[in-house]
Symmetry: C2
């Protein structure tokens, strides 16, 4: 028999978000019940709630950057205890048996992992409901420990924006000898800068906004390049080991590919609604360069990222809002009017 | 004081190729003089001679798949001797000091390697002249040893088509546990099949031509997929560790990207005149997949490739022509009417 939780739900693609009551399952043997304290707002939330990624059942509840306090644990739970501050990211379950799951890459689960929202609830049936909510019940294996020294509200965005940038930086071996570009300075980009700097890389931000030059430096970037300046872009040729491209608007990839060294990689983590213009093949061939994609990270790596952030004192730059401010926050995000992440105080 | 050689030259972008006399330098201390016996015809030759890659000085002489016999060596030459059968590929020199050259990757020379044609002759000034010619003089470091068991004519295409496919197969670690796709069955593709099979991979050819199914199998491919068959393409999803895409005509990359496993790579070695349609970001992200480019190979790796071909008895499938057949050969190549490489008997 499920209990209920209060939530902020979308009732239709074109309707404002408002209060709603959703079911949450009773705590099973391996479950952790969490009172949600903070939930970051990701761009994906907006795409999802507005049905831009395909039709969804309404009412719908988004939110996958969750921080909360454990209120109950199942009889078999060993990883978390009542009172712990914990996090939940984009996934609440996966098949656990496919090669990706066996390699701790639940994010690439072959049979399809269960999204914190936009998933199918294995226990109650129907859709999963995300973190714009007062409470959630999650299997302990998908619940993260939060370092005690980190501000809980500013830690929420690490669960998506943090791991989405941390995972490719690690996978492609960014370290102290790396020259790293970060394209775009939004929710993802600002985390990419902080993480790459903490990994010891020389970090160059590419932005189209002159207003963001000082912001990028304040976040730790060593250099900032205005990507609208052709001359400045030409000067970047063959400089970068790795470029993390966080921009979800269509843009020419060619000048960025040309900025890679031989054998350099540009990873796309933003999904534009319309495709990027066709990349030229020549700059890929002349330099054995690579364009790749990357999707969040596995649970083990997400914990590693949180621990890394604890060691380095890294959190997101946030603007806190109350639940009744979600609609306005979504509107402001569509105008890139946030530095750098809204976090709902539930 | 230069000597001369007879050659088959283009005198203008839109004129047929005909006889011409070109200068060749005297043999310097580190030089090898080669009487050219065979020269393969690469698609690049046509693009170059017709000025499709930019304006060129005419008369122009193409050809970078050269096999010949050493007729003289300079006083300091130690790697080759008179009478040896040797090869020359796409490069006749490089800066030798940049990081790429120091890593035996002259093909990615930062300051620009010297093309066998389309380069600037460091010794005589003016353009370099390629292998559609009776003789050539090349620094010994850019001259390759040819295994004695290989047919010299059929070995010529290894110098470009062979190394262009061998290098990415090796760089991305193709071996006996790999499932490898080869897209397109032309000069490059048919070499890719032979080499990947010899490396122990399970090789699947993607072709648009039903007529090539049996040809592909005869070359050693384990499976052939008609890429025009949507159902057959869908069945390839997430199967491939590596895909070698040799097609130089624009085509959708998405079904091929989707055919890669997680962390799989598709390498483009063909340069279309018009870009490929924009690849979707989603299939890159959902699977951490990669699109990369690759350009021929370094001299050391080219020698390794020739030795590998010697061990495995691999040469190209060729159709021999006389120099006066070059124009017709070019026309037939534009209609893909060759299995799989024309080789000029000089």
């Amino acid at each position: 028999m499920p209990t209920t939780a209060s939530a902020m739900a979308a009732f239709a693609a074109d309707q404002p978000i408002g209060p709603h009551t959703i079911p949450r399952r009773d705590v099973g043997p391996t479950d952790v019940a969490i009172e949600i304290q903070f939930c970051g707002i990701c761009h994906s939330d907006i795409h999802f709630l507005r049905g831009e990624w395909g039709p969804i059942p309404y009412p719908a509840v988004a939110g996958h950057e969750i921080i909360g306090r454990v209120t109950a644990v199942g009889s078999d739970v060993s990883k978390h205890k009542v009172g712990d501050t914990v996090g939940v990211g984009c996934l609440v379950d996966s098949c656990r048996t496919c090669p990706s799951c066996q390699e701790d890459l639940e994010n690439y689960c072959t049979t399809g992992s269960t999204g914190t929202y936009m998933g199918e609830d294995k226990h109650l049936g129907g859709p999963t409901y995300g973190g714009y909510s007062s409470a959630i019940v999650v299997d302990e294996d998908f619940v993260l420990r939060v370092p005690a020294n980190l501000d809980p509200a500013a830690t929420a965005p690490l669960l998506c924006a943090g791991i989405t940038t941390y995972s490719p930086l690690r996978h492609w071996g960014v370290g102290k000898d790396s020259v790293v570009g970060v394209v775009g300075l939004g929710g993802l980009g600002h985390m990419g800068v902080k993480l790459a700097v903490a990994m010891g890389a020389h970090v160059v931000v590419f932005t189209t906004s002159p207003s963001k030059v000082e912001d990028a430096k304040a976040l730790g970037a060593h250099e900032v390049v205005l990507s609208t300046n052709e001359e400045a872009m030409n000067a970047q040729a063959a400089r970068f080991d790795f470029i993390l491209n966080t921009v979800a608007a269509p843009h020419s990839l060619d000048p960025l590919v040309a900025a890679l060294k031989r054998d350099g990689t540009m990873v796309l983590v933003g999904v534009p609604a319309e495709p990027h213009p066709s990349p030229s093949v020549m700059p890929l061939i002349f330099g054995r360069r690579t364009i790749a994609g990357s999707l969040i990270g596995g649970i083990k790596e997400t914990q590693e990222m949180l621990d890394f952030c604890g060691e380095h004192g890294i959190t997101a730059q946030i603007e806190k809002i109350k639940p009744d401010g979600i609609n306005e926050a979504h509107e402001r995000m569509l105008k890139s009017d946030v530095k750098y992440r809204f976090v709902i105080e539930m």
